[in-house]
Symmetry: none
DNA sequence: CATGAATGAGGGTTCATTCAT
DNA sequence: CATGAATGAACCCTCATTCAT
């Protein structure tokens, strides 16, 4: 259930560059690129800065990636997949109420994506989708659609076991996930501005529990409802 | 209850540039800029194209705006305020259940912002916030915070009248609004890619009603709940 | 019979740039580019230098030409066509022996191309043909083939009037023109090196007359000459 | 009369790089470089490609040559000298008419240079002479001037034996050799473009015989011919 | 000797900004 | 007021050259 990956494990490396030779792997370049793309967007990120952050020269980037766009694609490509694998396993092995499964599942995404630098990826994709339709398409297929499918499986489990009342499944998926997405989007946009000091999302986990409680409240069949104090 | 404004009335203009008006006012320039910023983002929008769309020369832009960034600020500045004024009036004059008020209020925003070109503004702001913190701050104060306050007033009305159960108000505001925001964000990112053909949000109003129903279901005090067919 | 053209008339302009604005026509840029392309070849010519020579900034080049290659094409495109037009007219109006016509025709090419900066174009094309096959193709069709056709017409005139003996026409065309081409190729390669001081082509017109005399000698029917089959 | 040399024997090697010879001698590097320089010109040839073709790493090139230019010089330096040695021997040993000697001599050059990869060298020199004057100077002295001298010796033999009429010797040398040079220049420029499908030089030996016949025709004394002063 | 990863200066291209008309 | 030609700084990308291994 560990979601660590090569990319994520190096994302934070900015240490003074030591014995680089023979060790500056593409992974480090991708990590540096991802950080800057997330911070500034694709167009506003200069390859000079990516190189500097990775502790290499500009030319080195071109030893590993054909172009700035190829680097962008690489940075996007595999970042989130391991987490989806985790969630897949959770769905297969979880025993217990579906409400609890749903909460575990969404919190896992939050803790392993939303609360990490990877959280910048969805926001980045949203920002650049129109200018890079092919990347958007790839991401949509490999990440978005798969993510939807995972939540769908959880919802269907709850319906099958009569825990949930009948609802529009597709719409409910969006409703369930929208606040999590808003959270990461907010963190990487307004939330990153110093001047915006009142953080409506300043306590993300508390917010998420409220959200999950609220929606589960709405999803569960009436007889079982207990009034939860918040 | 009319939300029209100088900006919005021209936002949709795509007509072939007529014989250039002697009076090409800033409003037309802003409208042209907004359309392109929304379509391509700030960095990818060329002033050449803005000028062409407005039917003026590039130099003319500099008669009205000091820089590309100033044009961006102007384009963002007033776009959404009239709609907030509308909603303010709705809150003051509405008579009826708060659930119905909330639905009316959110649908109004959808119909006058989300479903119009103005819907691109929130997405644009999200994309560019980190690169233009001062614009983000302005927008946050004048649009985001005010919008939150309006929903808060509706929520407090429901609590005061014992229609809603006790909830975390701030979190609920976000939860209520997040799907609407996701909707516009999606429309102006993945939704604009031809290759992304499965539209999870393809029936926005139906989706919104499901959402509102679900959350109202969760918000209302238990005894009053009726099971709504979807 | 004047072979002057806009391009050629400006080829030599390097005068201190005066009231440039509104007057730096594409022709000047082409002339500057042609000079440098001829001197250094396509790859070794920097657009900075072309701009400097034309007295404009580098960006200005892109107001008139889409790319360095487009500038190259433009420089090549029209340079030699007026001279071919001249020769066409000579063929139509000349009265006298065909040997004299041929001499007049080749000398005209020499004086209006070979002995001018335009002489650099054939050499340039030869140097760059493999790297720019589409330009080579265009030039071959518009200049080379037409030039061949013009000489062919002169040859056929001589044959028709029994002035020349039967020869392989295509081969003879090449033989007639090869020394002229070598002359310009040499002038723009070895001939431009200071260190190469012995000029085998130092008296071009004398050389050309020798050449023409020699070949005409071989071409003309002589009572005792045997007709050689080729 | 064998013109083979270390350089030429390897010029044609394009075989897939065998298990790298422990002894990758300069000769192989030069051969690889020459092929690529001839194909693409100096500037457009990348040392990466030269190394790849020679089956060594890029760094290895710098073990043998100080710079790209040094490699260019080396590639040019010795390529054609063995053929000139051949022709020298022909001049010393030939018995028979000078017309026949001249034909043998020119055909030998054609078959051992023009029709082989070595034919690219003259074209390469012509293309790059202005950018590398010192190489041009070297080549001019060692190849061009010597070649002229060899033809001059043949011409003087014909004059001495009263086989040829009096002509301008220097000019005649150029005239004799120009078509051969044009042939190789054309083959390595327009002739290498797929789109240029009509080959005026498509039958080189036939063309050369026509040329030689024509010029010999003009050179030989004929009882009725008047001696033309040049 | 040989490698090949790394470098960094240099060139083509873009585009916000200016200003003479 | 309006124009649009001109500017030049900035950025992506290439590739000859170096050097630690």
């Amino acid at each position: 259930m560990n979601a660590s990956s090569a990319v994520r494990s190096t994302v934070a490396r900015t240490e003074p560059v030591r014995q680089r030779r023979k060790q500056a792997r593409p992974g480090e370049l991708i990590a540096a690129a991802l950080e800057l793309f997330v911070q500034r967007g694709f167009a506003a990120t200069r390859l000079d800065d990516v190189a500097k952050r990775a502790g290499v020269s500009k030319g080195t980037l071109y030893l590993y990636f054909d172009s700035k766009e190829a680097l962008f694609k690489a940075a996007i490509a595999e970042g989130l997949i391991p987490v989806l694998d985790d969630i897949d396993r959770m769905l297969e092995t979880f025993t217990g109420g579906t409400s609890e499964l749903m909460e575990a599942l969404l919190l896992h995404w939050w803790r392993n994506v939303g609360a990490t630098p990877l959280g910048g990826i969805p926001k980045l994709l949203i920002s650049e989708a129109r200018n890079f339709p092919d990347i958007a398409e790839y991401y949509h297929q490999v990440v978005v659609q798969r993510g939807h499918h995972l939540i769908r499986r959880a919802l269907e489990r709850g319906l099958r076991e009569k825990e949930f009342r009948a609802v529009d499944i597709d719409a409910t998926i969006e409703i369930l996930f929208a606040p999590l997405l808003m959270l990461v989007v907010w963190q990487h946009s307004f939330g990153a501005c110093d001047a915006v000091t009142d953080h409506p999302f300043r306590a993300p986990e508390k917010f998420l529990r409220t959200h999950i409680d609220l929606v589960m409240h709405g999803l569960r069949r009436a007889q079982n409802q207990r009034i939860e104090p918040t």
